[in-house]
Amino acid sequence: MAEENWKPKIIAIICNWCSYAGADLAGGARIQYPPDVRAIRVMCTGRVDPLFILKAFQDGADGVLVSGCHFGDCHYLEGNYKCAKRMFLLKSVLKNLGIDDKRLRMTFVSASEGAKWGTVMTDVIKTVKDLGPSPIKEFAK
């Protein structure tokens, strides 16, 4: 387990139309959640190249969240399906690399689910905290 004051580094790559808007809505509603996630906005989760995620882990990320629209709700019709397919594959790659696949998470949060975004944040951070620092971190230095 991690030492007391260890703060996980978690990166979230989120789509402009659903999850980013949902995260904004959480703000508007002043839903409070822990501050350990940093977000990068893309137009669609379809844009998420698996290499981005591998790069993040290589750089020492403790967790990566990819969040998009619900299935059937993608602003670009099917980008989220295509992303999800890649994420499934990537999870098995991570396992083979010795990275717990729970460190990579894909969620679906719509533009109206501010409260859900708060729950996702809390949950992702807890999951990563329970797992402790990424084993890659040592090698990244």
Binding site: G28, R30, V42, L51, F52, H75, G79
Partner: protein
């Protein structure tokens, strides 16, 4: 080529941190963030201001660009979904390409969600600035593409909202397709008897509008038609419509077929001979209709429709129709595609299935009805000719209980958590109608709160109080029935007197909640419009863009966006029509230049990206003796799905290019640029 455009110059970034009053400054230490920004690579200047979006704030950006010869701008403030366009304009005003701007969201996703953790919030803001500076350092000049806008519009839904939107668009000189799924326009409003608080007869104010729609030269009315498929984008939507087989042809269609003086005239001779009897959905099943039918005599267009689900194809109607030859029992659905520039959705609502709240006994007890059924029963053109009767025995009720918030403001998970917004007012109107039409009868209104928020609404409430309606503040716990008399016992708590109420009444009217129509879900997905948790269509911004959606060129009117009464629906419809006419009158729209580009030196021509594109924007072409991918920019919407997939990294996704995103990742995790 994007790569070639990239300047070799050393980036010089200006960082501006916004206080947003105390919205950000309340939990983020602005000075700290500003000082930190100065230490970052490529940052030439950093500054702060109370409100960056204000004129002086924007002025700071423009001045700094000139003074420090900046190549990129970062503003740490609210969400880019709110003010990215604002700051892009400020960047442009300073003489820089507007796409050399990047926003760090330190309000919605920071200060507002970490209000009691100032230290962590400040750290997070610094990270956000660092990430944004990394991206800004790699941004390039981009130029929006202008596309021409088709000078036609479409309105989906022919209720009062859709009709108003279509009329306004048509009057603005725009050819408008009005698509309605049922055989007539008019919508819910045509089912109502009177409207509050003026007590206008609903049909009397609606039917002239229906006729106006029918007569308007710029409106092509497509009833009994549904949207099947949508392709394209603002200015150039290709909408495929399914014209359901109606079994009857109009006089125009008959003329086109060479049948002189033929086509349906609405005479109704066919109805008399039709042997099939079915419930009429317009009368909520309280009156019969034949397999060939009109909902009511005032339908527009006045053309009969064959219900092929129940028609036995006996052919009697064809005989009765005679030389008009209007009926074709072999008719099939027809698909047609129209090109439109903008679209207004006005898909309306339906009544929540209130039988799910079994404690009130709807569908179980004969004399429990919904408010919409009440409207039909009290309406002079309704199934009883306007006589309110008990369904169990046809007697006139003496005591009628109204249950407000029936399924609305219900957090049990069975009903709807929202207020349906017009039930209070129409129930007051119903109480008035009972008092007026049936001397001696008493309405009892069980309410949680009376929400009479509109113009002259509160005055109407006082009036009904004075007329003698009884008000009991308390939600009805349950209703039981006397099996002999079919009278009902309403059990509730009078929360003002603090004691239980058990009231025997002859009839109960449930002011049932409303919900989006069943087809709304399908329609919104076709047009790529989001919905709120309750299924109502999501506006682009709840305050500042209530008619727009996140899909450019698609607008919302009426209850499909959320419960509202007739005046609000009409007002929003006029707003939506106005918004939908702007791109058409402008003649062209600018598309955000987030296009994919092929980096031809890297492209191996494998073609794996081609099927990834949901818009068929990619194709393989022969160029200089080898195969490479080519993007059709007009089709590309900038999702980047191809870029996320290309195994060779040969796709340059403008504004979200791989080096830009990787720089963001590195900046966060490695604490600076690599």
């Amino acid at each position: 080529m994007a790569e070639v455009n990239k300047k070799e110059e050393q980036p010089r970034i200006g960082v501006f941190v916004c206080h947003c009053g105390t919205n950000i400054a309340g939990s983020v230490n602005i000075q700290d963030v500003m000082d930190y920004a100065k230490t970052l690579p490529n940052v030439a200047v950093s500054d702060e201001y109370q409100y960056m979006c204000s004129t002086p704030g924007q002025g700071k950006i423009a001045d700094a660009i000139k003074e420090h010869n900046l190549t990129g701008i970062v503003v740490a403030a609210c969400s880019p979904r709110l003010h990215e366009p604002t700051f892009r304009n400020a960047t442009k005003a300073g003489g820089l390409n507007p796409f050399r701007f990047e926003m760090a969201n330190i309000r919605e996703q920071n200060s507002w969600v970490h209000m009691h953790q100032p230290e962590e919030a400040t750290e997070k803001a610094k990270d956000a600035v660092r990430i944004a500076v990394a991206k800004a350092s790699k941004l390039e000049d981009l130029y929006p593409k202008s596309v021409p806008v088709e000078k036609t519009a479409m309105v989906v839904g022919g209720g009062v909202g859709g009709m108003q939107a279509a009329l306004d668009l048509a009057d603005a000189g725009i050819k408008t397709y009005l698509v309605e799924k049922t055989p007539t326009i008019g919508g819910r409003m045509s089912q109502l008897d009177k409207t509050f608080p003026t007590l206008d007869c609903s049909q009397c104010i609606l039917t002239p509008k229906m006729v106006d729609v029918f007569r308007n030269e710029n409106i092509e009315l497509l009833t009994y038609t549904e949207v099947e498929e949508v392709a394209g984008y603002i200015g150039n939507f290709d909408v495929t419509l399914r014209k359901k087989a109606r079994g009857v042809i109009t006089p125009d269609e008959a003329e086109a077929k060479g049948i002189v003086g033929g086509g349906c005239t609405g005479c109704g001779d066919c109805v008399a001979v039709c042997p099939v009897i079915k419930p009429n959905p317009f009368e909520l099943g309280m009156a019969p209709r034949k397999a060939i039918y009109v909902y009511h005599p005032q339908v527009v267009p006045l053309i009969y429709t064959v219900d092929f689900d129940s028609c036995v194809k006996c052919g009697l109607c064809v005989e009765a129709c005679g030389d008009k030859k209007a009926i074709d029992l072999e008719m099939e659905d027809e698909l047609m595609t129209v090109k439109v520039g903008t679209v207004v959705l006005a898909t309306g609502y339906e009544i929540f299935p209130i039988e799910k709240k079994f404690e009130w006994g709807y569908k179980n007890f004969d004399n429990v009805i919904t408010s919409l059924e009440f409207e039909r029963l009290i309406c002079a053109s309704g199934p009883t000719g306007g006589k309110l009767i008990r369904p169990s025995d046809g007697d006139k009720p003496k005591k009628v209980a109204f249950v407000l918030c029936a399924g609305s403001r219900d957090t049990t998970g069975i009903g709807k958590p929202y207020c349906s917004r017009f039930c209070c007012m129409y129930s007051l109107k119903h109480a008035h109608q009972i008092i007026e039409k049936m001397p001696g009868a008493i309405p009892y209104i069980f309410y949680m709160d009376i929400r009479s928020f509109g113009k002259m609404y509160e005055e109407f409430y006082y009036r009904i109080q004075d007329e003698g309606a009884k008000f009991i503040r308390g939600r009805v716990a349950n209703i039981t029935e006397d099996p002999e008399t079919k009278n009902l016992y309403v059990h509730a708590e009078d929360t003002l007197l603090g004691r239980p109420v058990d009231l025997e009444v002859d009839m109960v009217v449930l002011a049932a909640a409303i919900q989006p129509t069943a087809e709304t879900e399908k329609t919104r997905r076709l047009f790529g419009v989001s919905c709120s948790q309750d299924g109502w269509l999501l506006e682009a911004h709840p305050k500042l863009n209530p008619c727009g959606t996140t899909t450019a060129g698609v607008y919302l009117a009426g209850v499909c966006q959320g419960p509202k009464d007739i005046p609000d629906t009409v007002a929003q419809a006029e707003g939506a029509a106005s918004a939908a006419s702007i791109p058409i009158h402008k003649g062209e729209v600018e598309l955000e230049p987030y296009f994919a580009q092929c980096i031809e030196e890297k492209c191996a021509g494998c073609g794996l990206c081609v099927p990834q594109c949901p818009y068929s924007a990619l194709a393989l072409v022969e160029k200089d003796g080898r195969t490479v991918m080519q993007v059709t920019e007009a089709k590309c919407k900038g999702c980047g799905t191809c870029g996320g997939f290309c195994p060779g990294g040969a796709i340059w996704m403008q504004h979200f290019a791989t080096p830009q995103i990787v720089a963001q990742i590195d900046a966060f995790l490695l604490g600076g640029e690599q």
